[in-house]
């Protein structure tokens, strides 16, 4: 009977392709939009994840997310260092400044000021130059996407100069860094240099990065730091999710993406459901004939579910493939780099497609089951 079900399904080419198109469309819309949404949300906290050498971020206890941070007094660093269980603690500046290029153009950039002695929080992978060159006077390192943004289409040339706060900066390296939420270049410099590049602020230190001593439980140390300093101390993951939660709660991004994803699901249900229902209605007499000839309701249900599952599997496979092609072909575009399809999204989309085809087939199944078999004798 499975063979007959598949022949019935593929026999009507236009409806067969229409069904697959409906599921494919829903799959592409859901998998691509969810992937972009998750990618963008991950970008909001990507700079937190890029700092791999510290366990804990200490900040003002009113901080809501990484891009809105008031400075701490310098002596807060010493207070943190005095908390039992702290292996080391260093200062970190993170903020936005305006950089003017040699040709007079200017760009807003994200500036990281790293501890002069340890360079804690520095990028892990250099594409050009050496991290040690950051110790040279006026030195800055830029991420690859930022270099393309600042000097589009130009080959990597070290020694270029730019100005921030009317202070000269020299490019000594290009590094890899995760794309930020806003497509701004990321510049790394020493903390002492950051003090020159940033317009005068009384307190420059945005964060204190902390490494827990061996054997000290990170969460315990966070509580201890908060208790002794009155500041917020979060693990890397906690700060990452705090930032994401801020963007989820305070921006229209989830609503917009949510609407698109929901529409994708609804359209998938509508197209697949309507087409599948029409397909069943047109075959109602044939199903009736099969029932008359000895096919049980259970086998009829099995036939319809098989048809739905085949359509779902094909549509899902094509849809996921198209999404993969999209991300593969846009990976070289700077502002889309780093966005990709997560395996969890593939699974989630698969589950949604399963719901779509089951919903689509339920109506059809019901119609076939309630239809009197004697319909075959009517003209």
């Amino acid at each position: 009977m499975h063979w007959i079900a598949l022949k019935m399904l593929t026999g009507d080419r236009s409806k067969y392709l229409g069904l697959i198109f409906g599921v494919t469309f829903a799959t592409v819309l859901m998998s691509q939009q969810v992937s972009i949404f998750v990618g963008i949300m991950a970008r909001t906290g990507s700079q937190i994840l890029d700092v791999r050498d510290a366990d804990i971020w200490v900040m003002d206890n009113k901080v809501r997310y990484i891009d809105e941070v008031p400075g701490l007094r310098d002596n807060e660093l010493l207070r943190v260092r005095g908390v039992p269980g702290v292996d080391w603690a260093v200062k970190l500046y993170k903020g936005q400044v305006r950089a003017r290029l040699a040709d007079g153009n200017f760009r807003n950039v994200i500036l990281f000021g790293l501890d002069d002695a340890t360079l804690a929080g520095a990028p892990e992978t250099m594409v050009a130059g050496d991290l040690a060159d950051l110790r040279r006077p006026d030195a800055v390192i830029i991420d690859t996407a930022g270099y393309e943004y600042m000097w589009p289409g130009e080959p990597v040339v070290l020694g270029r100069t730019l100005e921030m706060n009317d202070r000269r900066a020299v490019l000594v390296g290009v590094c890899k860094a995760s794309a930020p939420f806003t497509t701004l270049p990321i510049l790394y410099t020493r903390y002492s240099e950051a003090g020159r590049f940033v317009p005068k602020e009384r307190h420059l230190m945005s964060f204190v990065l902390v490494k827990a001593a061996a054997g000290v439980e990170t969460q315990t140390l966070c509580s201890r730091i908060e208790e002794q300093t009155g500041h917020s101390a979060l693990t890397r993951d906690q700060f990452f999710w705090k930032t994401i939660r801020y963007f989820l709660a305070s921006t229209g991004i989830p609503v917009n993406f949510g609407i698109t994803i929901t529409l994708g699901f609804i359209i998938g249900v509508a197209i697949a459901g309507q087409t599948f229902y029409l397909f069943t209605i047109e075959n109602l007499r044939q199903f009736g004939a099969l029932k008359a000839m000895g096919v049980s309701n259970g086998r009829i249900v099995g036939m319809i579910l098989l048809q739905a599952l085949v359509v779902g599997l094909l549509g899902y496979s094509i849809g996921v493939g198209l999404t993969a092609i999209f991300f593969e072909s846009t990976g070289h575009i700077t502002h889309l780099a780093g966005l990709h399809m997560y395996w969890q999204i593939m699974l989630g989309t698969g589950a949604a497609v399963l719901v779509i085809v089951v919903l689509a087939s339920l109506l059809s199944i019901r119609r076939v089951l309630v239809t009197e078999t004697a319909i075959v004798f009517r003209t």
Partner: protein, 254 residues
């Protein structure tokens, strides 16, 4: 929906289906069969107490004007409709005592159908369409198709095995439907207006074919028709009107 599925299981499992030899001599035995469509107060009576016996080895024609209850009667005889009241015994099996699943299996094994609109599956070739009852019975496809090819030869369609229904004339499609009805060697063949959609020549050819290949010892053939041109093919003619049997020309008795 689950309720619909369970509907097949609501009857007490029936006794094993009696063989033809063990049952009464009539292939079909109806006593006081009535059928009402709609509610008790405003419904319509399609059958008003039908008594009928159809012997095997004969072709019995059910004739009468539109709306007289012919199609309702064969739907009940074929186990596709439940009567409102009365007793129906087919090939020794009392339908009222069969569970839904048993009735479906009984139908698949013992009854062949020829429909006015053929009801062929458009995506299947003529050979595949005719093999459907064997596939339903669980036969391996290759064996089923091989056996069906011989039946297709018998109905004169040996050269159209791989044609789709859309590539066949009405008469040819009905011959495929007859092959499909006979391929699993049923003991009761039910034909609903098999010539209604055909021209006179094709209709005669189909009836000759039914007469030649369908009527066999041990198999009863019931043909519903209002086409008086084919009356001569029946061994018995049951005349119906207004949900009742008026008279019978030939051997079946009321």
């Amino acid at each position: 929906m689950l309720g619909l599925l369970r509907k097949q299981q609501r009857f007490t499992p029936a006794a094993p289906v009696a063989s033809h030899e063990a049952g009464p001599t009539a292939a079909v035995h109806c006593r006081g069969v009535t059928k009402r469509f709609g509610s008790a107060d405003s419904g319509t009576w399609a059958l008003r107490g039908v008594d009928l016996e159809v012997p095997p080895g004969q072709m019995t024609l059910l004739v009468g004007p539109s709306g007289c209850g012919k199609t309702t009667l064969i739907s009940i005889v074929a186990g596709l409709l439940e009567p409102t009241a009365g007793e129906v015994q087919v090939l020794g099996a009392e339908f009222a005592r069969l569970s839904g699943g048993s009735l479906v299996r009984f139908r698949g094994a013992n009854i062949g159908f020829v429909f006015q609109q053929y009801n062929l599956l458009p995506a299947l070739t003529a050979l595949e369409n005719a093999a459907v009852p064997l596939l339903i019975a669980g036969q391996v496809r290759r064996q089923a198709l091989a056996k069906t090819a011989a039946v297709m030869e018998a109905v004169g369609l040996g050269d159209k095995l791989h044609s789709l229904p859309s590539q066949l004339s009405g008469g040819q499609q009905q011959r495929v439907a007859i092959a499909r009805a006979l391929v699993h060697e049923p003991r009761l063949l039910v034909c609903d207006e098999p010539t209604a959609a055909l021209d006179a020549d094709s209709g005669r050819t189909v009836m000759e074919l039914l007469r030649r290949v369908a009527v066999q010892p041990g198999r009863a053939v019931i043909v519903v028709t209002h086409d008086s041109r084919v009356f001569s093919f029946g061994d018995a003619i049951v005349h119906m009107s207004d949900g009742r049997i008026d008279r019978i020309d030939g051997s079946p008795r009321v």
